[in-house]
Symmetry: C2
DNA sequence: ATTGTTGTATTAATATACTAATACAATGAT
DNA sequence: ATCATTGTATTAGTATATTAATACAACAAT
């Protein structure tokens, strides 16, 4: 799974988003130990400080916790993970609908476009 | 219509996006004269240079053209506007689907969520 | 003819993001 | 006991984004 970073948004925000996606999608399972900050940074091709910032962000949301000298672990709180997953989905949904509205598409048209796209794959 | 700017993305990119939305949604009709760079900048609360950069971006895409000393005008090419509108919609659609996929939602689930959202409003 | 407005260009200053290079204390492995 | 690895913190340097302050040439309006 590549770290596809763009330069149109702050790197640490993109890192935090990717890490969150990996947790809520189960790629990083509840309770498991995550790679070290340095390893993650090397893998993503960024400075450890930048990766650290992303991890702190996740920590503030309770998605990971750092055992000071043994490593960092994904939360075991399945409910929190599930809640986060659905909250993020709702957020994306709302943003997407708003953008489509600003482009002049009605909710019905938007829904139809999405359906068409799904069927064409 | 407010200029709701966040600080998580480059300002001129956000300005360009908003201006484009206003054109493809018909808020700035084909052929009409746009407010001056300075007026747009003042309205959006940004520096004229930043607004200028956004306008150049639109100009590179043919959506507006600058008559050197009389002002700037929206293109009269209705086809280009329509094409741009649909291209942007497809882009948003693709990005949205990809994000939902990364959150662990199938296309069917995503489609269903969107439909539910539309019906609940 | 003068004045104001247009788009455009230039230069400097400031704020921020990211990288770089360390350092430290605590722990597990050897 | 020694050593490598852990998260964390600090400081400096560099690149970029944005603002700020102008300036200019061309045209419209007066």
């Amino acid at each position: 799974m590549p770290w596809q970073l763009k330069n149109d948004r702050q790197i640490w925000l993109q890192l935090a988003q990717i890490l969150t996606q990996r947790i809520v999608s189960g790629q990083y399972a509840p309770g498991v130990r995550m790679p070290s900050v340095r390893d993650l940074a090397a893998e993503a091709g960024v400075n450890p400080n930048t990766m650290q910032r992303a991890l702190v962000y996740l920590e503030e949301r309770g998605l990971v916790s750092a055992q000071r000298n043994t490593g960092r672990y994904v939360t075991q709180d399945a409910q929190l993970i599930s809640d986060t997953r659905h909250a993020l989905a709702q957020e994306e949904l709302t943003l997407f609908c708003e953008k489509m509205r600003l482009l002049g598409f009605t909710p019905e048209e938007t829904s139809q476009l999405l359906k068409s796209k799904g069927e064409s794959e």
